[in-house]
Amino acid sequence: MASEDSFDPIRLWREWFVKSEKSLSDALSEMMGNEHFSKGMGRYTLEALHTHRMFSETMGQHLANLNIPSRSDILDTNDRLAHMEETLNRIQVELREQRSQIARITVLAGSAKPGDNAARPARTRKPANNLDT
């Protein structure tokens, strides 16, 4: 690897690109902001949607024939996984609630020791006096 002080034209080009990126990006953004580009992008999005739908319908059948899952099958699996995650989240929340209740009972019974999860920190903290707000 080239050391810092050796002549490396690729590195110099990269450095120039990094320094010029903002102005190059601004110029591109300005081009993208004109009316023709905006119209074209809207049209392209709609055409892409149309192509996507046609392709999905056609490919879906081919993939089914080849016994390969389609995007729609993967999204089905994703949805099922998301449902399972949701159920796990509910169980996690429920378990935490149960733990908190046990902790409250422990505190009330006076058997909580310092460092136990049962003993929540006191909500009595005050700011330092020299704060400028």
């Binding site: 690897m1 591109l28 902001g33 004109n34 999005t45 949701e86 996690q92 700011p127």
Partner: protein, 364 residues
């Protein structure tokens, strides 16, 4: 031992030997490459200890476990943007706003969003503000036993927090802080031009796709500075021998392309009501029939904007402060961009201490 078994062991040994030699060569000769994680998902993000407190549709509410023996009375609820993952605020040890606030004695909760399922494409702005954010606020109050809290919203999370606060002026929001929060769509020129073009049809997009994919969101964000990602890759190459730089870069880069899909109905409202009709800044937005009037917000308010923010430029956020009805309201404009403001190397010296100072005198 059979001949085939011997051959298998020999092959495995050979493979392991090649791997060891390669690893050693890389580690010795190209120091910057040695610690590279094999994949982006190998990167450890979100290291602060947390517990899930509540979940509702696409909303997950986490509580970060306090590390101090004494904490401020008023809990802080951080509201993330519905298109961004929350780990940007808890990237790594020493590079985490969450870790910093917890260390300063704040009781921190975070509302993070997850991508919607296909059957959740109906979730609207009303659901996000009233049901999900409202549900999380109730859960924080119940969990802490307090009757008020501080909301801290990041980007669109700030919009949701403002909307909730404007609709619930009698409480329980005690303080409201927003980072880089867009309010005036006229200030987001490029998006405005694209979305007001006659050829752009959000209804058709939602009808075809259901939810707007994360890639779509990512592409539209990157279009705002088309060459920035390439420039970042070049910076990575120029600093490949700097382990800390490489890891930080990979973490940022992972987050930058890890956008969440948006429910179709929410996207429709954001495009029509926010971008095209610009209702938010004109106090004309309605949620479940009630008008969102930012002038009704009277609680202490802080807005932090970034000087070089290309996603939410100053023109899009500068009307926030004048529109808020509070007497105690401040705006801080800091160096940095949309993300480096909250998570960059300099955030620890710039934003974090100022936020801690602002919160600590108001969270008692």
């Amino acid at each position: 031992m059979t001949a085939s078994a011997r051959a298998e062991i020999t092959n495995e040994d050979l493979e392991a030997s090649i791997r060891r030699t390669l690893d050693r060569t890389i580690a010795r000769n190209i120091p910057g490459l040695a610690p590279l994680p094999q994949t982006q998902t190998d990167l450890d993000v979100g290291p602060s200890a947390k517990e899930l407190v509540y979940s509702n549709e696409t909303a997950l509410l986490y509580h970060y476990l306090p590390t101090q023996s004494e904490i401020y009375r008023v809990p802080v609820l951080i509201v993330m943007s519905p298109v961004a993952k929350g780990y940007i605020l808890d990237l790594a040890k020493g590079q985490s706003l969450i870790e910093y606030l917890v260390m300063q004695g704040h009781d921190v909760y975070m509302l993070e969003w997850i991508g919607p399922r296909r059957d959740q494409s109906h979730l609207s702005l009303d659901n996000y503000v009233i049901d999900m954010l409202g549900g999380c606020i109730d859960a924080v109050l119940q969990d802490t036993g307090e009757n008020e809290l501080t909301l801290v919203g990041y980007c669109m999370g700030g919009m949701l927090s403002c909307m909730y606060s404007a609709l619930n002026v009698k409480g329980p929001v005690k303080n409201l802080a927003c980072f880089t929060t867009p309010i005036n769509a006229d200030g987001m020129e490029l998006y405005k031009r694209w979305m007001t073009a006659k050829s752009f049809d959000i209804d058709r997009l939602v009808k075809e796709l259901g939810n707007i994919p994360g890639d779509f969101v990512n592409t539209s964000l990157q279009a705002l500075r088309p060459l920035q990602r390439s420039a970042n890759q070049m910076k990575l190459l120029n600093n490949v021998e700097n382990d800390a730089f490489v890891k930080a870069h990979l973490r940022f880069d992972r987050w930058a392309v890890d956008q969440l899909p948006v429910p179709g109905e929410l996207a429709r409202t954001l495009v029509k009501d926010f971008m095209i009709d610009n209702k938010f800044v004109n106090n004309a937005l309605t949620l479940r029939g009630e008008r969102v009037d930012l002038g009704r917000i009277k609680v202490p308010f802080l807005h932090v904007a970034a000087q070089h923010d290309h996603i939410v430029p100053a023109a899009a956020s500068k009307d926030l402060l004048p529109n808020i009805g509070s007497q105690d309201k401040h705006e801080i404009v800091m160096k940095g961009g949309h993300v480096s403001l909250v998570a960059g190397g300099n955030a620890i010296f710039r934003l974090w201490p100022q936020l801690d100072t602002w919160l600590s005198v108001r969270d008692v």
